[in-house]
């Protein structure tokens, strides 16, 4: 099984190699993306068979490459099969989207070679079964995505984004490297099989946990390691943004799960506290940032951070229950996390595709320059709306189900014996609830300002519907969002093997329940039936419509907007993204963003415009990143003096070193 997967990955790499010389030609784009689509679909099948088929027996493979005398190890087990599926689903959609979207690419030679390589990197991370292959693939994935981020390198912002991204990625890799160093010990047992068989002692495990959170968190976008994410994800071409946000962050989560759930042995209770706090803070901060952005793709990137927070919270919950031996509840929490991973990969890809379509149609990412696209791009608007609903956790779509499962797990926290956990988990629950509500606000804003209202610029008014490939990709994802929302039981059962593998328990089978409800624990406790809710909505809505149209009136007259007295029809009088976010900024901004509003009013009778400027400062950037960057600059500045010494002074240095070492010798013994 891993052999098949690897050869498919090999095809991707070959496609990357082919793309280097041919990327200038017209056939290159459909060819490369076509190959990617075909291979990812095959890999999806492989993953699905591994997930459904014989989940209990992982199959592995060793190649005589990688670290000397160790070989390169690959394995497909229930965990990697699940992530392989998610990764390839997203990748297949992105490839399909890109067949159409890539037509607008200005510099295909900077995208086509890296795209398949990037896909290959992500798959290899999931397939890897030793630390070296894992990290090579991990960093290769970062490297290729870095190249994609700076594909449009003539904008200096993109270069800066790429720079910060690469630094943070390498930082994360080094943290993981240290973690694996601890796991492997001084003898260098880098295969996961050996690591698994000998879990570290509690103290070491704690250190590894922290390193793993830093390492994978910096890739996934955990606050405060997220700073690169909202810069880098939007900078890449949209299908790559979708992959980075929708898929690569999941690969990071995979790394976390692999290390923490599988290699560290039985978890300590406080692990979950760390993960929960990180997750809760990330979710809230992420969505608050998202609400303040005006760049559509950046909104989506920050929303990814929020969702990563939700996922990590679910994982933290699972750890908490696992550490107390409550396997079935741990399974519930983990199912919620994994299901959310799947869901987020669907709707985040969908939304990035949508933003890409908008970007292509208008040349704008700035929401303040968009508007009214629902008229010119109705189909894109529709699928984007589905994505917005799904990500806002609204029934009957899929985002709601996974969050609902997470809340169900939170509600079981009284079963934990530890007081600290009992108190922290509801607080995290509150944070999750807050971020879910804010996410809805955020996506009302994103969709409303971008697609609704009237066009704010000529570019927006000239927009045209996007191409068929892109639309197909988005429609498929939207349909999957709906299916996963109304038939969650099927998906939950598919996750059972993975969950069983990780926490040693699973949720009760869901597919056999009548009316296709899902019941996490017991029917008397809680249940949800997406299908029925969906059907009821359709039936009652349609009934109401028919009844009213038949019995009352179905006449429509078009007229100018009322707005309390037919005001100025200029599009500028519309509510803007900034004004929409203003109430929330007023509520949360003073703490989180240290927002300052400065209003300048012209003197009476003056016709000069009044001006309102809002200054937001990024608390996390100011607290963490600015001092580090400043410190490095300072140190570099100070040390740089050593470049300008006279020869005599250099000799003095040599002399000093000599005397020092002799002194050491004199004192030693």
């Amino acid at each position: 099984m891993p052999g098949v997967a690897l050869s498919l990955v090999g095809i991707l790499l070959a496609a990357a190699a082919i793309a280097i010389p041919t990327s200038g030609t017209r056939m290159a784009r459909p060819l490369v993306y076509g190959i990617c689509l075909a291979t990812t679909l095959c890999l999806m099948t492989v993953a699905a068979t591994a997930l459904i088929g014989k989940s209990a027996t992982p199959s592995s493979l060793a190649l005589p490459a990688g670290l000397p005398q160790l070989g390169a190890h690959f394995r497909i087990d229930a965990l990697s099969a699940f992530f392989l599926f998610v990764v390839n689903l997203g990748a297949a959609a992105a490839s399909l989207f890109a067949i159409g979207y890539g037509r607008h690419e200005e510099t295909p030679e900077r995208v086509l070679p890296f795209y398949p390589a990037y896909l290959a990197g992500m798959k290899l991370v999931v397939l890897a079964d030793d630390a070296f292959v894992f990290l090579v693939a991990w960093e290769f994935m970062s490297l290729t995505s870095w190249a994609l981020v700076i594909a449009n390198h003539k904008e200096s912002d993109n270069l800066r984004a790429g720079y910060i991204y690469l630094l943070m990625a390498s930082f994360g890799t080094l943290a993981l490297l240290l973690a694996f160093g601890l796991l492997a010990g001084a003898e260098g047992n880098y295969t996961f099989a050996v690591i698994r068989s000998a879990p570290p002692s509690a103290g070491i495990a704690a250190l590894i946990l922290i390193l793993a959170i830093i390492g994978t968190g910096s890739k996934a976008g955990l606050v405060p390691l997220h700073a690169w994410l909202p810069l880098a994800h939007p900078a890449a071409p949209s299908h790559v943004s979708a992959l980075m946000s929708g898929v690569m962050t999941k690969v990071a989560v995979y790394g976390f799960i692999r290390i923490v759930f599988e290699m560290l042995g039985p978890p300590g209770w406080w692990w979950s506290v760390v993960v929960l706090v990180c997750g809760g803070a990330t979710a809230t901060m992420g969505v608050l940032y998202a609400l303040m952005q005006r760049d559509l793709k950046r909104v989506l990137a920050y929303s990814t951070i929020e969702n990563i927070g939700i996922i990590f919270s679910a994982l933290g919950l699972s750890l908490a229950f696992k550490s107390e031996g409550l396997a079935s509840i741990a399974a519930l929490a983990l199912t919620a996390g994994l299901f959310h991973i799947f869901n987020h990969s669907l709707f985040k890809s969908l939304l990035f595709f949508g933003s890409g379509a908008v970007l292509n149609a208008t040349g704008e990412r700035d929401m303040e320059k968009l508007g009214g696209l629902i008229h010119s791009m109705p189909q894109t608007a529709f699928v984007f709306l589905v994505g917005c609903m799904a990500i806002s956790a609204l029934p009957p779509l899929n985002g709601f189900v996974s969050e609902w499962l997470a809340f169900q797990a939170i509600l079981l926290s009284p079963q934990l014996p530890l007081w600290s956990l009992k108190l922290i988990i509801p607080a995290v629950g509150a944070l999750l609830a807050l971020s879910a509500a804010l996410a809805a606000a955020c996506f009302v804003r994103a969709f409303g300002i971008t697609f609704l209202g009237r066009a704010r610029t000529p570019a927006a008014s000239r927009a045209q519907e996007t191409d068929r490939f892109s639309l197909t990709a988005m429609l498929i994802l939207a349909a999957l969002c709906l299916v996963a929302g109304i038939l969650p039981g099927v998906f939950i059962d598919l996750l059972a093997a993975t969950v069983q593998f990780l926490v040693g328990g699973r949720m009760p089978p869901q597919t056999g329940i009548e009316w296709l409800s899902i019941i996490p624990i017991a029917e008397g406790r809680s249940s949800y039936n997406g299908l029925l809710v969906f059907l009821f909505m359709i039936i009652s809505g349609t009934l109401a419509a028919i009844a009213i149209h038949r019995l009352a009136s179905d006449k429509v007259r078009r007229g100018p907007a009322w707005d309390c007295g037919y005001p100025d029809p200029s599009p500028l009088t519309q509510y803007s993204a900034a004004s929409f976010g203003q109430p929330i900024r007023r509520v949360f901004g003073t703490i989180v963003f240290r927002a300052q509003e400065v209003g300048e009013m012209p003197p009476p009778a003056s016709t000069a415009p009044a001006r309102l400027t809002v200054k937001l400062s990024d608390l996390i950037w100011d607290t963490f990143y600015a001092p580090i960057s400043g410190g490095i600059t300072f140190a570099a500045e100070q040390l740089n003096r050593l470049q300008f010494l006279t020869i005599r002074r250099y000799l003095t240095l040599v002399f000093a070193a000599l005397v020092f070492l002799l002194l050491v010798l004199a004192i030693w013994q």
Binding site: P64, G66, L135, Y163, A184, G188, L639, L665
Partner: protein
Amino acid sequence: MNLNALDAVLAIPLFAAAVLAALPGYQLTAKLNVLASLLTFLAAISLFVIEPRSGDYLLVDDLNKVFIVLTTFVAFTTSVFSASYIGHEIEIGRLKPAYVRFYHAMYQVLMFAMNLALLANNIGLMWVAIEIATLTTVLMVGIYRTHEALEAAWKYFILGSVGIALALFGTILVYMAAKPVIGEGLYAMVWTVLVVHAAKFDPALLNVAFVFLLLGYGTKVGLAPLHAWLPDAHAEGPTPISAVLSGLLLNVALYALLRFKILLALNPAAIAPGPLMVTMGLISCVFAAFMLYRRRDIKRMFAYSSIEHMGIIVFAFGMGGPLANFAGLLHMTMHSLTKSAIFFAVGHIAQVKGTQKIADITGLTVSTPLLGWGLVLGVVAIAGLPPLGIFMSEFLVVSSTFARQPWLATILALGILIALGGLFLRLNTIAFGEPRGSTAPTHASYVPLFAHLAIVFVAGIYLPPTLVSGFQNVARLLG
């Protein structure tokens, strides 16, 4: 037959030097230079096939076999690069043809000296060889005769001479330590004999000797704070020489250091060389990493990167143990190949843009895509990103150290990270963005550049078992 290969490695360059000094015309001499280097390389490879017996003066073992092949290989590729590079320099009148004759002769002398240093079985001979190599490079660094070049050569010369002196003192001390055990005369300087008796040497004398050798050869390796000559010599000399300096000469000096480290490691009562090397390695790595940020000259920047990597390598050897030593050897090899490749690219870039100032070099991937991407790949490799070779060695160094000395590994990791930041900060403007300024037409030789990168790439994924077992033998030897 057996000894012929060994002798050939030394004789070919020496003979070629004599011939090249006599011949006029750069076209011919450049070709002869390539040919001689190729022959030397082939002779070096044959050492693997038929291992000659070691004598009192020359020696072939696992440790130097690897180095000699690497050295002759890089020397060969550099000579190919040099042919096109020097051609351009003559065209633009930066070098006079008379100097070129001198240059090619010197190149071969340098090869001879380095090969001799690697093959010498006598610590005195090794010292002599390294000094010849130093003096040759001093002359070559100053070959442009500009203010800066002369200044760099002068600095290199003074600091190098002091290094020479310190290393000699260390060598004398080793002899003094060996004399009571082995007896007076030649054998007290023969490496193979020294190793056998090392355990009985006066440990304290060995300690002092090691301090001097560390500082003496460490100056050549470019360890901070003894590094001062290195950036300027790299920046102001001809680029092929920068490539040879970074790729080979630093290694040769380090090789000498390793020999003595083995000696010390064999003596249980002597001071552990590890902590000293680890300290100097860490200082070099972190210091050079910070120095990358303020660089305005592209060659000087990569020179600092060489210091950083030498720091990592010395750190690895200082940590010791089979894994770290293995990693150190691998890192040395990979760094040689990568750094010389980078200098190949940089040399052509400087010619194409007519400047070495980073501020004036922009958007290379647009203006000269092959060179630009070659440089990007090189920097990616040198920054330790996979799937290229340096990642593997850094992986082994950092991960194997962390289990033993978490703090040291953390500092090293931070140093690597800071260096990566510095390199990519500059790479951003050099390789990307809108190209500015004029771009001269290129007639660059891409083969050496991409050949090196290809090897580094393959090595990052797959190492041939023979190489691995060779390295492992050496790693065991290094203790």
